[in-house]
Subunit: 343 residues, 2 copies
Amino acid sequence: MTRRVTIADIAAAAGVSKGAVSYALNGRPGVSAATRAKILAIAAEMGFVPNRAARSLSVSSAQAVGIALRRSARTLGIEPYFMELISGIEATLSAGSFGLTLQIVDTVEEELEVYRRWWAERRVDGVLMCDVGTEDRRLDFVADLGLPAVAVGGPIEGARLPAVWHDDAEPCREILGYLHALGHRRIARVAGFAHLLHTGIRDNAYAETAAGLGLESMETFHSDYTGEQGARITRRLLSSAGRPTAVIYDNDVMAVAGLGVAHELGIDVPGRLSIVAWDDSPLCRLTHPALTSLTRDISAYGSQCAEALLSVIGAEPDADRTFSVQCLPAQLSPRASTGPARA
Amino acid sequence: MTRRVTIADIAAAAGVSKGAVSYALNGRPGVSAATRAKILAIAAEMGFVPNRAARSLSVSSAQAVGIALRRSARTLGIEPYFMELISGIEATLSAGSFGLTLQIVDTVEEELEVYRRWWAERRVDGVLMCDVGTEDRRLDFVADLGLPAVAVGGPIEGARLPAVWHDDAEPCREILGYLHALGHRRIARVAGFAHLLHTGIRDNAYAETAAGLGLESMETFHSDYTGEQGARITRRLLSSAGRPTAVIYDNDVMAVAGLGVAHELGIDVPGRLSIVAWDDSPLCRLTHPALTSLTRDISAYGSQCAEALLSVIGAEPDADRTFSVQCLPAQLSPRASTGPARA
DNA sequence: GAACTCGGCTGAACCGGTTCACCGCCGCCG
DNA sequence: CGGCGGCGGTGAACCGGTTCAGCCGAGTTC
């Protein structure tokens, strides 16, 4: 285990000062082309890698961003969404040689505390916040802290920080239009957490569109995104009088669970029940019948979030942080789980 | 955005030297109880949080561990395994106030490079290595580097680093014994990557047990863990003459895909086909019929891996790093997807 | 030829902790 | 009363980078 190579070693080997080495390695003016080339060559030869802590201490930046996820291990594990998002984020970050620090928390208080600590320690240069809620304490908290942050979701009214989002209303209209065209008039929806921003946006969009189309019924049931709750709600829905002919799920996991319940009750899909899933993970193509679902490129979404965060981090501290990035809306991918409503 | 509080500020406020503050905050001898209490009170009042970079620079430790995952975004997203593992790791790490740095890579070369860089930069104090292979270059690489590491999987012969693992052979025997008791004689298995260590261990265990039980056939097909391949292999299996009466899958995703194919082909489960999944995620309970699967506490497994790594990090550099931790083997959870073989 | 500019480089301060050598003081012992 | 040991604390060096004031010498200007 040989000692690490430092810029002092390089300086000694090249016969110059530490300062010159620093300028050369960082591509700044202050050294001639010849000296720069010599220093770079020596550095490469000695296998120099700068010490992150030393650099951070000087420039007061961590070259890392953080994500605190407030979801149970079970939800996290089974929802493909987060891993895909993270992998997109990661791709952009590592291209900019930023690291990703991950923490899983239980409560909002804990999450706020993590942000506070990360920022005070300068462990991260910024954070991405998922699961934006309608009344989200975190938004003001990080803004007050001065911690660069980007909200993964939106749009957020009166936001003091950037949001990266896609229009959730448009896909709602697309789904209902599609189901309506197939003759469905009694539609139910198994939604996610009621307090999440995008859930509210979808709630409204469905309600308005349903009214416009003159649907017989369009009820929404909020859940926690788990398969268990998805199954329970579906079971209740399908056992009721005047049961819906189509059910829309706010994530893929619940849709799969719903399909399982339909099988269990001997209800043919799509013969007597159509199923639509929001968020098209590979999971939706594994079932039989394959699930009609809303496709969006979550990984690309993650990349855009990371890009937005990097731009905030790179910007002046007092720069405008209220911009928002709108991504492409999700697109309907019709598959075998939807069909005409039985007369 | 007020300036950060440093120990110099505290020292000034308390009328002592920086050194005294450091001793007081770190609970070391060198200051009297009274002074210590005063310093701690002032630190708390001023909201002091130590700068991570400065501490790292001094003590030459990052207070963070890294994981580089070499799986495609799609596999990562859909396999609950990794997120559960990570959440277990996280729980132990944050209890020890260590951070977790995550990176997703494409190739082994890239992964090795990440380890090299992380260690050279002192960005992490150690790493966890998943997906241990039979011939794994990474093991020697990190050992040569001197980078503290723990292999998530094993046992590894002639290992130069600790491994945390569970016996994969025992569950194999349990599954085959169970299926055999149900009358199954033609069993197939859809396995994971052939180059992974645990795949090989299972391969052998199945082969030996099958021979012992005198099964008619026990074929293994290797795959990449994705639902697509699981489905494709299952389709081929079920269309063949002398098709198996039971199929064992090496992960839950492929098992779900296999169940979908059975539905598609109109083959009743468990009437004409029994299905067993390795790794019991909530996914296995969402399908209909629910999948018989091998349950293990992946989150707890992650915790044990993290603990092992922390102990290696805390140990002397020349301490013995070849210990291995054996966890509880997975347990069979029979559900509705398995039943007696049709005569 | 004196004054002035400017590129190239040096030396030292600095970031915010940790650590170590050392010092003053008090009590105790012979 | 002199010497000794140990407690409580100080001051400075140190970790490995970045950055800035300033210096030197060559070229330009008048």
